[in-house]
């Protein structure tokens, strides 16, 4: 499903955030990406939906070859990949409802279906009562949950989540994790960068540990492993 081979990423400012990444993630897997702050987790994740382009190496996601693909194709790649962004990336001038609906309008779903599905995912993240609000009217955790709702609304084949519980209390975090687990059970590949050691240690899945742009550990059912 996702395949990286010798991937390097050097940012224009000279920082190398991916330093020869090679990894293979199968359809239906659930992978945690862990590592210290600034290790390159987000960079790794951003390369999967081509927010960042690799400087060197091969990346394949499904049928897309991210290195040779044309810019015109990128939107179609992204429609197969739901993303929960570390900084949420909600559209400030759209309401909660419109933000989530946007992701469905992009693929030209019919309006009735959009309405039904948006309310469904909002209910799932527990924010159905905030449909009409704007992102600025939400708490940090609420914005994060909207970002999650938007990522799953199109039932993507791959779900990328960058620190999806960073601003959530443990209870809400577990609710979200259960939702992700359920989605994963239905066949969606999940790649999730996280600092939450409890989740990683309790809900066991494959763990990729990244340090200095390198994968230093790759264990099925591994531990978080950075406990203080």
């Amino acid at each position: 499903m996702i395949e990286m081979l010798n991937v390097y990423k050097k940012y224009p400012n000279g920082i190398t955030a991916a330093n020869g990444l090679s990894v293979r993630i199968e359809q239906g897997e659930f992978v945690y990406v862990v590592g210290p702050s600034g290790a390159g987790k987000s960079t790794f994740i951003k390369m999967i939906y081509r927010e960042e382009r690799a400087s060197k190496g091969t990346i394949k996601v499904g049928d897309f070859d991210l290195i040779t693909m044309r810019d015109k194709q990128v939107p179609y790649l992204r429609r197969h990949v739901g993303v929960v962004f570390q900084d949420y990336k909600l559209l400030p001038r759209l309401t909660v409802y419109e933000n989530i609906a946007y992701a469905m309008e992009v693929v030209e779903k019919n309006p009735r279906m959009i309405k039904k599905r948006v309310l469904e995912v909002l209910d799932l993240v527990g924010l159905k009562h905030k449909v009409r609000m704007f992102p600025t009217e939400l708490s940090g955790g609420e914005q994060q949950r909207i970002s999650i709702a938007r990522a799953i609304v199109n039932m993507p084949r791959v779900l990328i989540a960058d620190e999806p519980t960073g601003n959530l209390d443990p209870d809400t975090s577990w609710e979200i994790m259960n939702i992700l687990d359920e989605i994963n059970r239905q066949g969606t590949t999940i790649v999730m960068a996280t600092h939450n050691s409890q989740i990683v240690n309790v809900m066991k899945h494959r763990v990729l540990a990244v340090e200095n742009g390198r994968i230093v550990r790759d264990e099925l059912g591994g531990d978080y492993g950075y406990e203080g």
């Binding site: 992204r78 946007y102 992701a103 992009v106 693929v107 030209e108 309006p111």
Partner: protein
């Protein structure tokens, strides 16, 4: 693109305009002011052009009649003149009338020449269909019988034509410069509003929107801003031109001068302003986005 997507873009463009509140207002008012300027100057320039053409049309050839000519000969001469292809109409001006004109403008020094002492000639005043044919008519008239002299102010006319042409060319240059300027200002305003929305566009791309999908609402928004920006100038121009037109034209009843008739003119200039506003608004919007859509 599905019809419902187009509908979505339409709704989205309106929503976005509304929610951008101050920004939209600032952009619309910039367009308004710019187009108002364009409208006023276009109106002035086009009317100056019209008046210049009217002045040109007003150039005539004086055909002086020999003093010995009989009434019949005079009539025959008139007929010949009228039958020339280039001639529009012919009028008689007697030497007495002419002397009165002279006395009027040169003080009373000529009053002593009244009656048979009058040194002047009767003349036919010939108007050409096309002002540029003046010279030709003059030439042909010279060879006619009973004509003692022909004058049409060769110098004056040539100078006039030259001046009017200069006026017209300067007008054209100013018009074009003004249109370019308006285009620049409008698209520049739109560009700034779009620059401030680059993060928005970024996010849209990240959730899988194609460039076309992102572009449409911005294009429409640009067009609406241009449209709203054109409405006030059009209203003002109409409200000001109509009374000026009727006042000016009633003051100028005698002459063959007139302002451009409002009926096609206001529609034309309104159309031009609306077109500039909307097209430049839409184009400016699209072009400013290019950088952000390049991936």
């Amino acid at each position: 693109m599905k019809a419902r997507t187009m509908k979505r873009h339409l709704l989205d463009s309106f929503k976005s305009m509304k929610r951008n509140g101050w920004m939209t207002l600032a952009a619309v008012s910039a367009v308004t002011v710019t187009l108002l300027l364009v409208g006023i100057f276009l109106t002035l320039l086009l009317n100056m052009n019209k008046l210049a053409t009217d002045v040109e049309k007003d150039v005539r050839v004086n055909v002086y009649i020999e003093k010995v000519a009989t009434e019949d000969q005079k009539k025959a001469l008139k007929k010949v003149l009228e039958q020339m292809d280039e001639v529009d109409h012919v009028e008689l001006k007697t030497r007495d009338e002419e002397l009165d004109d002279l006395v009027g403008s040169y003080g009373s020094n000529f009053s002593m020449f009244q009656g048979d002492d009058n040194p002047l000639y009767d003349k036919y005043v010939v108007s050409a269909k096309e002002p540029t044919d003046t010279a030709k008519i003059a030439k042909e008239a010279e060879d006619l019988e009973n004509v003692t002299d022909v004058s049409y102010g060769k110098l004056t006319v040539d100078k006039l034509f030259k001046t009017l042409n200069t006026v017209r060319n300067i007008g054209l240059v100013i018009t074009i410069a003004l249109l370019l300027l308006a285009m620049f200002l409008i698209s520049n305003t739109i560009r700034i509003t779009i620059l401030s929305r680059s993060t928005e566009i970024e996010i849209m791309k990240l959730v899988g929107a194609t460039n076309g999908f992102i572009r449409w609402p911005f294009l429409l928004e640009g067009a609406w801003i241009g449209m709203f920006g054109a409405l006030i100038p059009i209203a003002i121009l109409t409200g000001v031109y109509l009374p000026i037109y009727s006042k000016f034209n009633s003051a100028l009843t005698t002459a063959s001068f007139s302002l451009l008739s409002p009926s096609p003119f206001l529609y034309q200039i309104g159309g031009v302003m609306l077109a500039i506003g909307m097209i430049i608004g839409a184009l400016g919007s699209i072009l400013s986005m290019r950088r952000f859509l390049k991936n």
